[in-house]
């Protein structure tokens, strides 16, 4: 029962963060701001879901179901790189920020 609650909670937390990320993606007003949200919110979202999954299958099967951790690991390794590369692309494309300015300081 407790496990059920925990799993359910983790699922809900996970999807909530994912949702916030996606919402931010639509809502925020310039590209640079939009890059933030999904990177973080979704990683946390996925993280929660994966933990939920781990607990669920561990209980369900009776043996440790831990391979979901790999996905978390992988996402945590790659998400910042993706964000970095997107930022660089944005700068390179000379996208305007929310104030209509182009960040010139470091070029691309």
């Amino acid at each position: 029962m407790i496990a059920e609650i925990i799993i359910s909670a983790l699922i809900l937390i996970g999807v909530t963060f994912s949702f916030i990320g996606s919402l931010g993606l639509v809502k925020l007003r310039d590209f640079y701001m939009r890059v933030h949200v999904p990177t973080k919110a979704t990683t946390l979202g996925i993280g929660s879901l994966l933990i939920a999954s781990t607990i669920f299958f561990t209980i369900h099967r009776g043996t440790p179901a831990v391979h979901e951790i790999l996905i978390v690991l992988f996402l945590f390794m790659t998400a910042p790189v993706s964000a970095h590369m997107l930022m660089k692309a944005g700068l390179h494309e000379r996208l305007k920020d929310v104030n209509g300015e182009v960040e010139e300081k470091l070029g691309s």
Partner: protein, 89 residues
């Protein structure tokens, strides 16, 4: 209770994907679109995990892992394309 959470989760994730697609279509810039695509990949991982939970079958792990990997590679490739005009050199 778990199944309610899972179903709710699935619905929310679908909503997420819809939001992502909206951004992708709206753009306005190509980096925006790539960003939206990247987010879609990650949200898809979530969706598939939830689906696995719902079926109570652990056969979707590889798919989830692969989506994460491929999403990353795709994003990097697209960003590289914008940065250098080509993606590798």
């Amino acid at each position: 209770m778990i199944s309610v959470a899972i179903n709710l989760g699935l619905a929310v994730m679908c909503l997420c994907l819809i939001l992502n697609l909206i951004r992708l279509l709206k753009g306005p810039s190509t980096p925006d679109r790539i960003l939206a695509l990247d987010t879609m990949y990650i949200n898809t991982v979530a969706l598939i995990l939830l689906f696995g939970l719902r079926l109570e079958r652990a056969i979707f792990f590889e798919a989830a892992l692969l989506i994460a990997m491929m999403g990353f590679v795709g994003t990097v490739a697209l960003a590289n394309y914008l940065l250098h005009g080509d993606i590798i050199e």
